[in-house]
């Protein structure tokens, strides 16, 4: 058994860096802060790669199965005899894979940021927050129990909040950060209730016990039921709500496009490659429970994923802000991953969807980070987010252009780039189990190719735009990460995920299903071709099309009015019809009652007070009239 205890440093180093940069960043200056932050990331990236190597290739496997190893664990908070929150590190195939994804992208983003954020106010704060995010995300990834995951889940939420609102003087950024936090908090409410339900019935938070096929969670699959579904199914649906919130699945997707208000490297790191796939990771983490004990919940995952991927792809075709296009594309691709998990079975070749989902998560992280960082380089050069104000940039930004093209081809699923392999596995898995979702995914594949190349042609070809300053290629600190990620996007497809990351830890045989792959390539090429016709040279086809399908276009352009609906619910219903009446009720009814008790007491005592006026005549008058009255009464009673 190889010792993995050193993996705790993967958490400790970025945490210390956050505290240090947060407290002393402004004293040591921007240059050193950036260097320290990036250096810390370099160290933990190295540690993660060592861990991956040791885990996959140097640890003797027990009977051909990758076992989960608890590298470190300590009790953090005791609830009851059985329920306690532990903080620790779990090393297993998906956590190691996520370590690689998170540290690689985070390291690239750190390097990139030293160039991108140069001269910005709050540079030290930015790096402190990046360290906080890296710490939280890594803690989430290596969590050995669901409550640790929840803890770090909240922490990535707050780092995301802080980073989206980095430009805190910009009202739109402030609003976006608030929205992101509250929407995901609402989803986390479901997650928490799910955890409480699940832990009450299984008496544990531990992933290893929970996901054990003979463990308490799965054994209770047929146990107590509520409204026709078993308790485990309910709790897994609730847990999924949390995942859907973080992963911006419909109807919680509204925060992600707005989150693009943050600095672009942040969008690449948090809102494309790592944090938003936490939901997928959560479902994958609990996958045996979903698959063996809560198939209904898994169906929900599949259909929500499929719907979100189509829904977001349609919206992406109409947006003009390049970061928003990429954001909707992210929602769509995460929908793919969720769907792949949803259609997967457990064990062996049945678990193709699971493997495909993790595979796509991996490749997506690389090419989507690349796309965002490329977009950052473009924005850096032309100082606008709108693709309508760009065009012909291929001459000015050769490296950005080439890497962006590679990323577009990858996401469109063109071989031999990595996206092709992972997408093909997903389509194959969907084909095996659910033909409706399979058809949806074909449509999405075509739309994806179309909107990505719409973006590409609009930025790099299209009309010749006059710029105020001649755009310059980004500095090396920005182009080197682009090149590294592009290499990753090209070659990651050859990683044998079916041997390494599978639903039950065992390797299985899988090969490219050409029957599924060839039509999907053709659809991708078709999408690219349509985009080329419409956008390569300036012409009026887009306007004509938009005019022909005016209503549909308007609907998609306004994101199906979901934001307006939410705004209506929050502003009108919650604020105006719940909060304000409660505040009024409290002041006027409850407090009014208290005050009127006081008033009544006061009035009554004023009345009573008059009896004690101190005037002798009054006393004499009352005395005499009382005596007379009594005398009359007595006479009346006695003599009548």
């Amino acid at each position: 058994m190889i010792n993995f205890t050193y993996t705790v440093w993967i958490l400790i180093i970025p945490f210390i860096m956050f505290i240090f940069l947060g407290l002393a960043g402004h004293k040591i200056g921007p240059k050193l802060s950036g260097l320290l932050g990036t250096g810390a990331l370099a160290v933990i990236t190295a540690l993660s790669y060592i861990t991956a190597y040791k885990y996959f290739f140097a640890t003797p496997k027990a009977g051909d199965v990758f076992k989960a190893i608890l590298a470190a664990n300590t009790t953090w908070l005791q609830f009851t005899d059985k329920l306690h929150i532990d903080i620790g590190v779990l090393v297993d195939p998906i956590s190691v894979m996520m370590l690689i994804v998170v540290t690689t992208v985070s390291f690239m983003v750190h390097i990139y940021s030293t160039g991108y954020m140069k001269g910005e106010k709050g540079y030290e704060r930015y790096f402190a927050f990046l360290s906080l995010f890296s710490f939280s995300m890594l803690g989430l990834v290596v969590a050995p129990n669901i409550f640790q995951m929840y803890i770090f889940w909240e922490l990535v939420g707050v780092s995301s909040y802080l980073l989206i609102g980095f430009y805190y003087e910009k009202p739109s950024a402030v609003a976006a950060s608030k929205k992101a936090f509250i929407v995901t908090r609402f989803a986390d409410l479901g997650f928490l209730i799910g955890i409480l339900l699940l832990s009450f019935h299984t008496k544990t938070f531990d992933f290893i016990t929970l996901t054990d096929p003979s463990g308490p969670a799965i054994a209770q699959a047929g146990g107590a039921s509520f409204l026709g579904l078993s308790v485990i199914t309910w709790s897994m649906i609730f847990v999924y709500l949390g995942g859907a919130g973080k992963s911006a699945m419909f109807p919680f997707h509204i925060w992600l496009p707005d989150a693009m208000e943050g600095p672009t490297p942040v969008s690449a790191l948090i809102h494309a490659a790592t944090m938003v796939v936490a939901g997928v990771y959560l479902v994958a983490r609990m996958f045996p429970v979903y698959s063996l004990a809560a198939p209904v919940a898994l169906k929900v995952v599949a259909y929500v994923g499929g719907f979100s991927s189509l829904f977001a792809a349609i919206i992406a075709c109409t947006q003009t802000d390049i970061k928003r296009v990429l954001a909707y594309s992210t929602i769509s691709q995460i929908g793919y991953m969720m769907l792949a998990l949803g259609v997967s079975g457990y064990g062996g070749h049945e678990g193709l969807g699971y493997m495909a989902s993790m595979f796509h998560l991996f490749t997506h992280a690389l090419f989507k980070a690349l796309l965002f960082l490329g977009a950052g380089a473009i924005i850096h050069a032309v100082h606008t987010n709108l693709m309508t104000e760009m065009g012909g940039l291929r001459k000015y930004l050769p490296i950005t252009h080439l890497t962006f093209l590679i990323a577009c081809l990858t996401i469109a699923g063109i071989p031999p780039f990595s996206g092709f392999f992972s997408k093909d596995e997903i389509l194959a898995a969907a084909f095996q189990s659910n033909k409706i979702l399979f058809a949806v995914e074909y449509a999405v594949a075509g739309l994806t190719a179309f909107y990505m190349f719409r973006l590409y042609f609009n930025i790099f070809w299209g009309k010749e735009t006059q710029y105020q300053h001649t755009p310059h290629e980004a500095p090396f600190s920005m182009t080197i990460p682009l090149i590294i990620l592009a290499l990753g996007a090209v070659f990651a497809g050859w990683i044998p995920f079916n041997k390494l990351v599978t639903s039950d830890g065992q390797a299985f045989e899988s090969s490219i299903e050409w029957g599924v792959a060839i039509p999907s390539i053709l659809i991708g090429v078709l999408g690219i071709f349509v985009a080329m016709v419409m956008y390569r040279k300036e012409n009026n086809i887009p306007e004509r099309l938009a005019a022909t399908f005016k209503n549909t276009y308007k609907l998609a352009y306004h994101k199906f009015y979901i934001d307006e609906f939410y705004l209506f619910v929050t502003k009108k219903i919650i604020f105006r019809y719940i909060s304000e009446p409660i505040a009024w009720f409290d002041r006027h009814i409850i407090d009014g009652t208290m005050n009127s008790i006081a008033t009544v007491t006061q009035v009554v005592s004023f009345r009573i007070r008059k009896f004690q006026s101190g005037q002798l005549q009054q006393y004499a008058f009352v005395f005499i009239s009382g005596a007379v009255l009594l005398a009359v009464l007595m006479i009346y009673i006695w003599y009548w």
Binding site: W76, F79, T80, E154, L189, D586, M594
Partner: protein
């Protein structure tokens, strides 16, 4: 001399010192030294307590000291602490210490102000170390009365009205409470032994259930009013908004905890059967106040009102957890008292400091303060994050302990009320982030605020010590939670012994 007696002696000596010295500077010096000593003493008490426990002392209360005070009625001045009261004492000393530094700029009748403030603190300390119902009540009254002067004299806005309202409501509650305590006293010795006020002694007997049914609601409501029990919470928004900074800190931070602590130590501990029978009424009331307070806070415009309603919500959670009557939830209740005490003190300190600079507490009149006074703004954000239950800060630990504990009841009633209470985490996030967005972020709204100074040294002491405590509990909750949990065990055993469920 018993260490616990120092907790009353030091404040009394400090008050004497303040009265004797001449100028304002020395007054503040004496006050800060006295309360600093008190803080060190509290730290010493924590250490001694933990050492005793480590050494295997399993007595329910430690450092017990008993003076006969009034023989014919068997009233004692009886002291003793367990993990719960030690934790509350530590909380109190931190908040009082921070409060002294937060009122450093007090220029009007400074000497009298500090005397009243420390008198209030004396009452609170005395309350937590007492195990005799009568002295406990005495100290309780001692803490409430200086409040009237502190708000009425040094307050702002409609201060006479608020002070009167607060005092009358709390006095009304103590009247009911005192009847309850006397009721307990007259049923404290069923075998013809002398009647007693001693909590430990009483807890060994079973008070007849008919008596419990009468006196449980009296004591619970009596303490509950101070703990902002819906619908008797309305003194809190007015009182807080009129009170000077340090008084708000002490009041929300510590005094409201007397309510929760008393409801636990007197009402539930001594009368568990009636508590079990009637808990459903109060569970409904408290789960209402959790949500109601949070919604109420959402539309307020005055910073102090926001935090007053937020306190209603958070203190509602304390009473809610106490009524769940199992070890985890009740441990959570104590954690929540401490956590809320620290962060709400931090909030009120910061509000006072911001008010001292902008001379307004209406959030709409301010904006973009992050750029102008970054230190105070960052502290405010941290307090906000603690309040909305961010892991790594104390609020999360307390809330999660309560929720997990409350959810261990298998029946639908407890679960649904728990879920209702849990939804407060979202509503809390809404109102906290709303304030942060309007008050601190965005562009600066008014030029006149441009040249404000950031925190002074005494303000830094006040906020940093509170933040350090909030973060320490949030990062390493195990020791505190196990210290409270261990002391909770005998309480739970007693409840279960008379009333298994």
């Amino acid at each position: 001399m018993n260490i616990l007696t120092f907790f009353v002696v030091i404040p009394v000596l400090t008050i004497t010192g303040i009265i004797l010295v001449k100028d304002i500077k020395r007054v503040k010096l004496v006050a800060s030294i006295g309360m600093g000593l008190q803080l060190l003493l509290a730290a010493l008490l924590v250490v001694l307590y933990i050492m005793q426990r480590r050494a295997g002392n399993t007595e329910e209360m430690l450092f017990i000291k008993d003076f006969v005070w009034f023989k014919s009625l068997n009233i004692h001045f009886a002291l003793g602490v367990d993990g719960i009261s030690v934790a509350m004492i530590a909380l109190t000393s931190v908040v009082v210490f921070a409060g002294v530094f937060a009122s450093w700029e007090m220029a009007f009748l400074t000497k009298e102000f500090f005397v009243s403030l420390i008198l209030l603190a004396t009452g609170v300390f005395g309350f937590f170390i007492s195990i005799d119902l009568f002295t406990m009540f005495l100290f309780y009254e001692l803490a409430v009365i200086p409040m009237y002067l502190l708000i009425g004299v040094w307050g702002s806005g409609p201060k006479e009205y608020s002070a009167m309202k607060l005092t009358l409501m709390l006095m009304g509650a103590s009247a009911i409470l005192f009847v309850g305590i006397l009721g307990i006293y007259f049923h404290s010795a069923p075998d013809g032994e002398p009647l007693t006020f001693n909590i430990l002694r009483i807890s060994n007997y079973v008070i007849p259930i008919q008596a419990q049914r009468v006196f449980f609601p009296m004591t619970f409501v009596g303490f509950g009013v101070l703990g902002a029990l819906f619908p008797f919470h309305t003194w809190s928004p007015d009182g807080h908004s009129s009170a000077p900074t340090a008084v708000s800190m002490l009041h929300a931070g510590v005094l409201m905890k007397l309510g929760g602590y008393g409801a636990f130590r007197v009402a539930i501990f001594l009368m568990p059967e009636a508590a079990k029978e009637m808990s459903w009424i109060f569970i409904i009331l408290t789960s209402i106040s959790v949500i109601y307070g949070a919604f109420g806070a959402m539309v307020q415009k005055d910073l102090k009102y926001i935090n007053a309603y937020s306190s209603v919500s958070h203190c509602g959670l304390v009473l809610f957890a106490i009524l769940m009557m199992n070890k985890t939830a009740m441990t959570g209740a104590v954690l929540q008292m401490i956590s809320h005490g620290l962060m709400t003190a931090l909030f009120f300190a910061l509000i006072g400091m911001i008010y001292g600079r902008t001379h307004t507490r209406l959030i709409n009149e301010m904006g973009g303060l992050m750029k102008i006074i970054p230190f105070l703004s960052v502290c405010y954000v941290i307090a906000g994050l603690a309040s909305l239950g961010l892991p790594g800060l104390s609020g999360f630990v307390a809330e999660m302990t309560i929720f997990v504990g409350a959810f261990q009841h298998p029946d639908l009633f407890h679960r649904i009320t728990t879920i209702i209470a849990i939804t407060s985490i979202v509503i809390t996030a809404v109102y906290i982030l709303r304030v942060i967005a309007i008050l601190l972020l965005g562009p600066s709204r008014d030029n006149q605020y441009e040249h404000m100074n950031d925190a002074k040294w005494y303000e830094k002491i006040s906020t940093v010590i509170l933040i350090a405590c909030v973060a320490a509990i949030g990062l390493a909750p195990f020791w505190l939670s196990s210290m409270i949990g261990t002391s909770m065990q005998p309480v739970i055993d007693k409840i279960l012994a008379v009333n298994p469920f």
